[in-house]
């Protein structure tokens, strides 16, 4: 009886899974087709082969072109650099900030907390123009610092870490450590950080993903083609008058692969981390 009740459950899950995967299937099959086949068939090219599919027309040429015509190596290095450095430093800054706001009772704390909350609401587009001018005034245009520095202090991150600290770091632990005479930073790195490991993993993943897929910011700040990350170079394949679909598909696949692997590794703590910041605090 119980076994039967599972059938509709699995049916629903599988249906949704298939619906979710259709675009990915499209991406995969498109990357294996020539430009001509791309325009004449949605998934696999029709033909005389097994199941009515022209298997012989599937080709790896798009991937080969990706590695030869396209500065894949350099672009990937740029992407890895930007994403990993941004996420590492941002996580550190937000963890410290969240810790400061959550675990210390000091004058100005409420005001600061409200400031951070208010910043959550600011539409990013409002800051583009003045932000760009600021970067220019500091001489940070056409440099990675100009991209990384503004991204190191997202209000969202401080908010999440504050919640996580409030929920998972008991004050008694901190007090006893202070009684033992431990320095503040030692307390932070040896006690607090391990306690919020899940949130750290989650936030690293989120900021890595954001920086990896960001393609408007780098285009505006970086002025040389060699320093552009993968997201931009792939977007540029989408020209005004013509589009190289094959390269875009294979390029997108290649650019998803690293973040997919990261997600697989960080899956469990991503989930527990996100929710440690979501429970009311």
């Amino acid at each position: 009886m119980r076994r039967l009740a599972l059938v509709p459950l699995y049916a629903a899950l599988v249906t949704f899974a298939v619906l979710t995967l259709i675009p990915f299937a499209w991406m995969l099959t498109s990357s294996l087709k020539s430009q001509h086949d791309f325009f004449t068939s949605f998934f696999l090219p029709r033909g005389d082969g097994f199941l009515g599919v022209a298997w012989d027309r599937l080709t790896l040429v798009n991937f080969r072109r990706l590695f030869s015509e396209f500065p894949l190596g350099r672009a990937m290095l740029n992407s890895f650099f930007l994403a990993s450095v941004t996420s590492s430093l941002a996580t550190l800054a937000c963890a410290m900030g969240g810790y400061g706001l959550a675990k210390f009772n000091f004058r100005g704390r409420t005001a600061l907390t409200w400031l951070v909350l208010g910043a959550l609401i600011v539409p990013g587009s409002l800051l583009i123009a003045p932000g760009y001018q600021l970067l220019w005034q500091f001489g940070l245009l056409n440099s990675y610092a100009g991209l990384i520095l503004p991204a190191l202090a997202p209000a969202f991150g401080v908010f999440l870490f504050r919640q996580a600290m409030l929920n998972t770091v008991p004050n008694e632990l901190l007090e006893s450590a202070r009684i033992d005479g431990a320095g503040e930073f030692r307390i932070f790195f040896t006690i607090v950080i391990p306690l919020v490991r899940p949130m750290i993993g989650a936030f690293l993943m989120i900021t890595f993903l954001g920086a990896w897929n960001n393609f408007i910011g780098p285009q505006i700040v970086l002025h040389q083609p060699e320093v552009l990350p993968l997201s931009v170079t792939i977007n540029n394949l989408r020209g005004l008058y013509a589009t190289d679909y094959g390269l875009i598909m294979s390029g997108t696949l290649v650019s998803i692969a690293p973040v997919m692997c990261l997600f697989l590794l960080l899956q469990r703590e991503f989930i527990s981390g996100l929710t440690s910041g979501a429970v009311k605090g």
């Binding site: 949704f16 800054a93 539409p123 800051l127 973040v259 979501a278």
Partner: protein, 307 residues
């Protein structure tokens, strides 16, 4: 340093616990604060100034006082954008979130195998960049040959294969795309919340004879309420800032008759396409004020419901 310490209780009055040094909180919040001041607050202040100016002409800005805001309040395009954005937000909260919750409920069933795979599949859309989303959904929503129209026409011959998803029914198309994109992400929040629901309560209710719907309404829902409220808040804030998804779906435009115009899109258009950064800043500030009002209202509502 591994001196054994006596338990807290026997250590005497609290006054013996050293307070944290005065510089500590500031040292920890400093990196964030400095960057926040520089890259968020300062440009924000600039934009406030800008909102009282006109910057059409290159290099020439003129101070116009409240004129931007006055025009904004009578600007039919702004109100249309606000309407579209509000509609989308309502849709996101009442369609996308229930889908996410539903998926989480399905996945949370104890007898489900392969949970990790399903989780990955549902989360995968969040990993893709918006460039790909734009190209792909343009394909899916196309008239006649798009996947949706072709598929629906094959299933129901009476379905008009020229159903103009992105020309006439922009909001529903956007909602569909956003469900695909974001339901998985929100599902993760709900999953974790569901896993924290007290199993004993559920088992007791089941023994008492409560059906699945009653169990859901009276036990599960209240227990996941905090997470749900958080997710709703995030959703509302994110929905009000909607810009890149419709921009990319409608091929860098607001769609026919501005059906896909959202507030932030209008901000972008006025600021960067027309060149009036002043008016754009006014739009942004008005949006900010509205959101703050909405947030305060939601907090009051929450507090009242708790009491």
């Amino acid at each position: 340093m591994s001196r054994s310490t006596p338990p807290l209780a026997s250590r005497g009055p609290r006054a013996s616990a050293p307070p944290f040094p005065r510089w500590a909180p500031w040292a920890f919040t400093a990196p964030f604060l400095i960057l926040f001041l520089l890259f968020t607050l300062w440009p924000l202040a600039q934009s406030l100034l800008l909102s009282f100016q006109q910057t059409f002409g290159p290099k020439s800005t003129a101070f116009v006082g409240w004129s931007n805001f006055r025009f904004l309040l009578h600007d039919p395009l702004f109100w249309q954008a606000l309407r579209n954005t509000a509609l989308y937000t309502v849709g996101a909260v009442f369609v996308q979130l229930p889908v996410a919750l539903g998926l989480a409920l399905l996945l949370n069933h104890p007898a489900v195998r392969g949970r990790a795979i399903f989780r990955l599949i549902f989360f995968a859309p969040s990993l893709v960049g918006l460039v790909f989303v734009g190209i792909m959904f343009a394909q899916i929503f196309q008239k006649r040959t798009g996947l949706l129209n072709a598929g629906l026409h094959a299933l129901l011959p009476s379905w008009d294969p020229e159903f103009a998803w992105l020309d006439e029914h922009v909001m529903p198309s956007l909602l569909l795309a956003s469900v695909w994109l974001y339901a998985g992400f929100n599902m993760i929040y709900f999953l974790a919340a569901l896993q924290n629901v007290n199993r004993e309560l559920l088992d007791a209710a089941q023994l008492d004879g409560a059906g699945p719907w009653a169990r859901f309404r009276h036990i599960v829902l209240p227990e996941i309420r905090p997470v749900a409220a958080f997710v709703v808040l995030l959703s509302v804030i994110g929905s009000f800032q909607l810009f890149e998804l419709p921009w990319v779906l409608l091929d860098n435009s607001a769609g026919p008759a501005n059906r896909g115009l959202t507030v932030v899109m209008y901000l972008y258009q006025t600021g960067f396409l027309v060149g009036d950064l002043g008016y754009a800043s006014a739009i942004g500030w008005l949006l900010g004020l509205l959101l703050v009002g909405a947030a305060i209202a939601q907090m009051r509502l929450n507090r009242r419901e708790e009491n």
